[in-house]
Symmetry: D2
Subunit: 273 residues, 4 copies
Amino acid sequence: MARPLRVTAEPGRTRPVMIRPGLAVGDGSPVVIAGPCSVETPEQIRTAAQAVRRAGARLLRGGAFKPRTSPYSFQGLGEEGLRLLSWAGQLTGLPVVTEVMDTAEIDLVARYADVLQVGARNMQNFRLLTALGETGKPVLLKRGPGATLEEWLNAAEYVANRGNERIILCERGIRTFETYTRYTLDLATAVAAKQLTHLPVIADPSHACGRRELVPAMALAALAAGLDGVMLEVHPDPARAMSDGQQALTPADLERLMATAGLAPETKAADSP
Amino acid sequence: MARPLRVTAEPGRTRPVMIRPGLAVGDGSPVVIAGPCSVETPEQIRTAAQAVRRAGARLLRGGAFKPRTSPYSFQGLGEEGLRLLSWAGQLTGLPVVTEVMDTAEIDLVARYADVLQVGARNMQNFRLLTALGETGKPVLLKRGPGATLEEWLNAAEYVANRGNERIILCERGIRTFETYTRYTLDLATAVAAKQLTHLPVIADPSHACGRRELVPAMALAALAAGLDGVMLEVHPDPARAMSDGQQALTPADLERLMATAGLAPETKAADSP
Amino acid sequence: MARPLRVTAEPGRTRPVMIRPGLAVGDGSPVVIAGPCSVETPEQIRTAAQAVRRAGARLLRGGAFKPRTSPYSFQGLGEEGLRLLSWAGQLTGLPVVTEVMDTAEIDLVARYADVLQVGARNMQNFRLLTALGETGKPVLLKRGPGATLEEWLNAAEYVANRGNERIILCERGIRTFETYTRYTLDLATAVAAKQLTHLPVIADPSHACGRRELVPAMALAALAAGLDGVMLEVHPDPARAMSDGQQALTPADLERLMATAGLAPETKAADSP
Amino acid sequence: MARPLRVTAEPGRTRPVMIRPGLAVGDGSPVVIAGPCSVETPEQIRTAAQAVRRAGARLLRGGAFKPRTSPYSFQGLGEEGLRLLSWAGQLTGLPVVTEVMDTAEIDLVARYADVLQVGARNMQNFRLLTALGETGKPVLLKRGPGATLEEWLNAAEYVANRGNERIILCERGIRTFETYTRYTLDLATAVAAKQLTHLPVIADPSHACGRRELVPAMALAALAAGLDGVMLEVHPDPARAMSDGQQALTPADLERLMATAGLAPETKAADSP
């Protein structure tokens, strides 16, 4: 197989992906991306965004176009979800990450999002990758649950090859025989991706584990392994989430985790009058 | 998760998918779909089509838009490939099957193809599935190498849900730890798909095995398990194939296999003057 | 890694393993080994053995020492189970196959059994393999659910290397992400094992599928793929089986399967007065 | 399936396993076990032990009876290896961990070892587990590469059930489709094992990764996830190791890792007179 050329040009020398002035992924200080699985209501996304901001996360995630196993499951709010996400991001000053599912929707999603996410199921949707390579937007490329390291890096190459090297790789668990967890978070391969490319690499322990009680430990593990950040599902009221509630942290969970990780915002004089 | 409703309405009672008058998949007599991985030249596809026809296969396959792991691998001839495939099909009287990779290409591919294939990597490209549900064309839906039975049937439901129940399921191997074969052909799950739905189910031992010498045994196994057909890669000169040559049968291999399977055309009076 | 030498000395030229005069595995006519998962009572094993015999199977299987995931599950009847199995074999004229779990038990089991089975969980119990290499008894070596082809053949080499080449390989399903079936029956690798060695290779679709309704299709598939036989769980009353009842065929199921496979005993003059 | 009872009696409340006075695994301060894959020569094991001691590891590992895929690979020095390992342990004051492969060898190995290791391939060697349950010795139980969490905990139950609860669980990588690493280190399931039992749990990133350059990151990840320790392969001269050299750290690698992990011995006044 042809090797990926562009993304492996300087193995191990991570080049930061600038999101906005003052915020990059891969510059040596780990970044937390957090938010709900799906954007559901104005109140829900606003509350989530504020909690995420307060805890010290730097980007807000939220799904508007949701790829769901069944056509009868909640498919996201669509453009309305994009609008709400963008609004919550502006309220809190957080750039937003959301998924784009089809070439025909790139323009729409790009109007609202700061980072365009390629979901795990679309990792080898080559038309989508190529089209994203022609935007100038940062792309968050999730590893497919059945994809090898080689396939993942080649998927990134499809984007880079069209001139867009603003790519963040995201390991989110692979399919294995173990069913206690939803997927198996493959941190070693994520570390290998950092060693072999110059792309920043993050991990998504929420989707990988599928169980809230394992997420903090695996987020800490990902950071200790040297990854550039983690992506976490946080919901103001997980029990009522319209999708994946069992893996969402509460705002309080997130604050504890950020404190343990040494990533909580400093509580300065300004906070105590 | 919401259950697939339409495709499981009559479990185990396979409804044939008509391809053209006199040719259905799932009517009780197994069908062989054969042809090269990629359409390469007029000569190549014509020779392949004639060999396929002579051996008794009923449909011609061939890739024009090729999803490849690397952007630097041969990506297929595109529309020119579609034209050549369609031409070879007409020459030999065989309907043709070829892959469609993106919603934006459905109209183009549908102009040339009798059956629209969804490749394994796109099994959960939900926009593509939905759009194919709105064509009236037969859809050959390959199982993703990392997809569970439940996900596969729900992917079919995305098509059926839009009113198109002309779906043929195709098992083509799943990702496992075994590396001697390219993938692991999961015939038991293919049989389960037949038991749980009314859709015809076929197998693709060529992609699953990745080794020519295992293909005939696994094709015979698939037919003995009661599947509705097999899809086989056949190339007039495998050593020169532009993709996947190591798994392609020669025309002579195909003839032997068809004879062993009892599917060779009868050598009638017409053959002996 | 060092290659297995003895078992690959004549790739693809299967040498039959003689079980007793007139009965070999690997001589070109496929052999069915059938019986209950566990020996439970005299009545149960006798009834099972008679049904197995009547249907045309050539060897009787039954567990006396049962390796079970939990220490609190039924562990088999031990030596009493061996005695009953041997008695039922003598009653029906069928040689018997049963598992040996530890070097310290080989002598005991060998006193009662015609074929010594190494269970999947013990495939790399190298002390056991070596010790079995020093008996002259036929060994049925199951592939471990997490074992590669290379590991399986090397496990056989541990036996052959000590001078005992009376080895029958048995594929019984590998661990994959698919959970609809208990394991994934990997027939392609079983075929590869035949191509690479001179050992007979059989398949065990009962353990692989874990669901009765898939077993006949997969048994037929295994035979069509050219394997030397199949091993099937059959219980006179599956609903009351002390282990693995959901995957056991009834005697009637077995008879139907044997007839479909063309392996039913000929109904000779004796049957019609 | 019957649930494991003893090992899950107090989920999440880890009970330390005392190795010797002043040294426990699971008491809240993580423990590093290090040493060569195989004991090879007096010089090699002595040098390794001294390096391991100097770096701050608390137990010495080394294989004397080596389970190897091929019978033609180096099988370890046997009892001579046990003697050398024990000698090196005494020289450096480190307790030693080594593998026992068969019920018939328990007494011999127990004479030399402080902790008896059950290798991954023997995780479901139930006779061995039961016999180890009847010794009073600490048992280090590796997870099988094809074993689920449920099977792993039940294997521990086989030991506990006989009265020996001095069990340390060790995750060492599972078999998945990813081949860049040797196995996939499944830290999430290791964390789950800690949450569900009262047993200490450690990880072995050396066997899991199979590549030296990934080991430090994964060791740090395991510790950050809250595991009770890590087991590391260290060789004075990895390029000349008789087994698994490509995954062994050098003594200098180990010192760097221990320093990063905050586990290096304090260089106190006492050290400089």
